[in-house]
Structures are given as C-alpha cells and as structure tokens.
Assembly symmetry: C2
Amino acid sequence: MEIGIIGSGSLGLLYSFYLSETNKVTLYTRREEQANKINKHGITLVQGNTEITKKVEASYEKNYKEPVLIITVKQYSLNSIIDTLTGLSPRTIIFLQNGMGHLRFLNHLSHHNLILGVSEHGALKVSDSVVHHTGSGITKISMYKDCESDVMNQLIRNQSEVFPFIHKSDWETILKEKLIVNATINPLTALFRVKNGELLTNPYFHKLFYELFEEVADLLKIENKELSWKQVQTICENTSENQSSMFKDIYNGRQTEIDSILGYMIEHSNEKSCPRISFLYQAIKGIERGKEGV
Amino acid sequence: MEIGIIGSGSLGLLYSFYLSETNKVTLYTRREEQANKINKHGITLVQGNTEITKKVEASYEKNYKEPVLIITVKQYSLNSIIDTLTGLSPRTIIFLQNGMGHLRFLNHLSHHNLILGVSEHGALKVSDSVVHHTGSGITKISMYKDCESDVMNQLIRNQSEVFPFIHKSDWETILKEKLIVNATINPLTALFRVKNGELLTNPYFHKLFYELFEEVADLLKIENKELSWKQVQTICENTSENQSSMFKDIYNGRQTEIDSILGYMIEHSNEKSCPRISFLYQAIKGIERGKEGV
C-alpha cells in the first residue's frame, strides 16, 4: 500500500519505520529541516541495545496523495490539518489519537473511510530521525462506520510479529479502554511526578487512583467496572517502571494532552459530579501554566 | 513570670527569645545536645541583616515546674507529653498548635487554666540555637473556658512592640481563621511546590484555591464566607513570596501537619461531602510516604 503518515513525533517515526517494511510510506513533517534529515539519514529505531536504520521518504509539503493516511499528531494539533483532510478526495484515514476529543471532527470527514485506532506501543522521540521503541505493544483498529475498505485487512495480513495490528469490532470500547488508562494513570503520575508503579505500591496514591477510576468509569458508563479496574491495574503493573507521557510532558515543560483526556470528560459531564476529574484537570492546567512562566 | 516553653522548634526558639526579655524563661528541648548548646550559646535571632543573641535557660529534663507553660510542639507530637501535663499541679497552659486536633486533649487538662492561641509569626529554625524571624506577626490568645488567670493580662501588658499578644474573646473563631488558611494555602502550595502568591496569579490554581476554600468554609460552618474568602486571599497576598510550612516540610522530607489540619476535618465530616479535602489529604500523605522511601 501507499501510506502517508501525518505527524512526525514518536508515534509517527515508529509507524513509518515499521510500516515501510511492506508498504511505500511517506512521512509528512511540519518542519522542512526534519524532512531533509530523514531523507538523508533514514529513520533509526533503537530497541534495547540494537539500532536499525531504514530508508523512509519524508516530505514537509502537505500534498497528501496517498490513498491511505495515518494521523499521528496529538489531538491538540488536529485543528490545523482537519480542513486539509476535509478537502481531500475519498480515501482511508486512520486516527491514532489519545482521548476522544477527535471524534467531533469526524462528521466533516464522512466522505472518507474512517478507521479509529489506539496504539499501545511505548515510544520516545530521541531526535528528528531517531525513535526509541521503549515498549512493544499492539495497535487496535476498528472501522468508525461500516464502509468499504480493504486497508484494515491488508494491515492485519501484512503485519510483522513485533508490530501487530488487531481488528476490533467496536471502536468505542477500544477508545474508552485507552481513555480510562490515560485519564487515571497519566494525570496522577504527572501531578506526583512518580513512575506508574507507585500508584500501586503507595497506599495513599492507590486510594486516589481507585477513586479517580470510579469517577472516570461512571462518566464513561463502563458496565463491568470490576473487570475494568483489574485491567487498568494490570496495565499499571506492566508499565510500573515507566514514566507516563503526561509526566514526561510536564517534566519537559511541554503541553500535555490533558484537554483531550480530562477536558473532554468535563465537557461531557456535570462538573459537580466529577470533583476529582475537575481538580486534576485544573491542577495539570495550572502546572502547565506555571511552566510557561519559567 | 516564670514561663516554661515546651518544644524547641522554630516557634519555641522564637517565643523563648522574645518572652525572656521580661520573664524568666526555661526552654524544654527533646535532645540534651540542643539544651547544652542553648545554655552555652544562648538563642540567636536573625531578622533581616541583624543578629541578636540572648541568654536563655534550656533543659531537656521534663520537670516542668513553671506556673505558666507554653506548648509549641507540633500537634502530632502532643501525644507524647499530654500524660505529663495531665499529672501536673494546676497552672496555666497555653497551646499554640495549628489545626484543631489538639482540642480533644483538653478535657484531660480541665484542672489547669487553658489558653488557646495562634501564632502569626513567620519563623525558620536555622540550627539548634538560631532562629530566623522571617515575618513579624501577632499572637492571638483566648481563654478556653472561663477561669481565673492573670497570665493573659500579664502577657498583654508586658508585650513588646515587635512581639505583640492580642486578646480575643472567642477561641473558636481564631482557631478557625487560622485553620482555613492552613487548610487551603498549605496543602495546595505543598502539592504544586509553589510560593503562596502563585495561588492568586495562576488562574487554574486560583480556581482550585477557591473551590477548596468553599469546602473548608462549609465544613467549618463559616457564616460570612465572602468576608472570610477576602481575608484568606489577603493573607496569601501578604505572604506571596513565602513558601508555606507544608511546602517546606515536603521539600525537606519532613512530616507535615496534614493530619491535624485536613485529617481533623475529614474526621469531623462525611468524606463524600468534601472530595477536594479528601483528595488533598491522600495526596499529601502519599507524597510524605513516597519521601520516606527515598
């Protein structure tokens, strides 16, 4: 397949690297400098002690011509490309954003085949052309609405063992499952500046973790809360030595995804019914704001 | 007057220094080493660029013989001396603790004249015998119940201009006024590790500050909430460049007064009705716990 990947952060680099094994990939960057570097040096993937470099084509011109586009920009950057996507001829577009804030854009794009996905890979951008694959995971993908597209099948058929794509029938479930994790582990670890595992080992943080989970699960109308709580804790345990992306964003003075995660939830609820979500939202926004002044 | 001061932290050193001008003061320390140092070097007060040293008697033996005792230990250390105070012959005892958690001990001490006070001085213990007077304030004192004691009058009559004692008729009001400040400014600044003033200048923190104030004021049944909110903000503004005591405790890995402040409130409420207080209580306890492991 010819695939255009829009967004050249850690996920964009990671997906460009792996998908270029069996597809013709073009990675679209925001900056010309980064495109030039990638065209010159390729993309280097670091995993453990090994480094592999692969030739990948990059472009900073927004002439998205591929029949398949994968959007990896953060949700807060979607605004800037949604008009362009709206103007494109029909094709298949795959969204990999966290949260559910990007759903509101999808009705502008109804002439495309839309696939929603969540990435469970851990990735850290080391430089413009180097990405560290810090945790192997899967990519769950689901059709947003019934439509014809063989892309899903091809992705699943062509996947490599270390970079699997799994089809799920219900996009809402996979987005919510990821959202619960992002809405609990991320803001708490960012606020306390602790690794994920401390939410399980510190009894006070564990109580906060559970109370926050309850609010989030109620708001998302999760049916089997007990099972969901087990799943979230398992993910926390499996990533116990990791710093969450929001912790890293706060630590590095970058904008976090709090708006598309907790902000989205507050928009879709009564603030009074979710005091912990509301507290954490304000807290992370305040910390972001404080960093700006430094 | 002969005054025994129990507790040789920043407040104990400060009160010993100032009260020894017109009284015979003995400062009771927990460690022999500190008593020896004070007996040898006196207490040195640092204020701005000036340093004054005064001879003060110190003792680490708990033979509290003075007719007037001032208790300056933190509330969480009261347990260890309350039995001793109970066994003493009748005298006047002045309590200067933060929070209201110490009230539960007072019925054991009904044979004494009990005075409750709040200190609005800023003080920082520099070493065993040196205290920095970082902010001049007043000491508000109030009889806990009607009883005969000329101590109050003497303290007020003998006060120096830089170290005033003010009589207030209602102990509950002065304790609550201080508690509101301690319950809002302290935990928020400790959690975010910011100076007091940032609760006013950062719009997100200011919103949290107000929402927390509302919960605290409701719980303490404050009648004029609008006035009280103005007062708390004024104190925050007057101390905008200060780090709160709880921020400093957290920063230095020391135990905080969270139990006697927010813990006391949670004990006297329904946890469901104060989600922000409950969140902050768990948060500070969790941070304390995390520091222990470091």
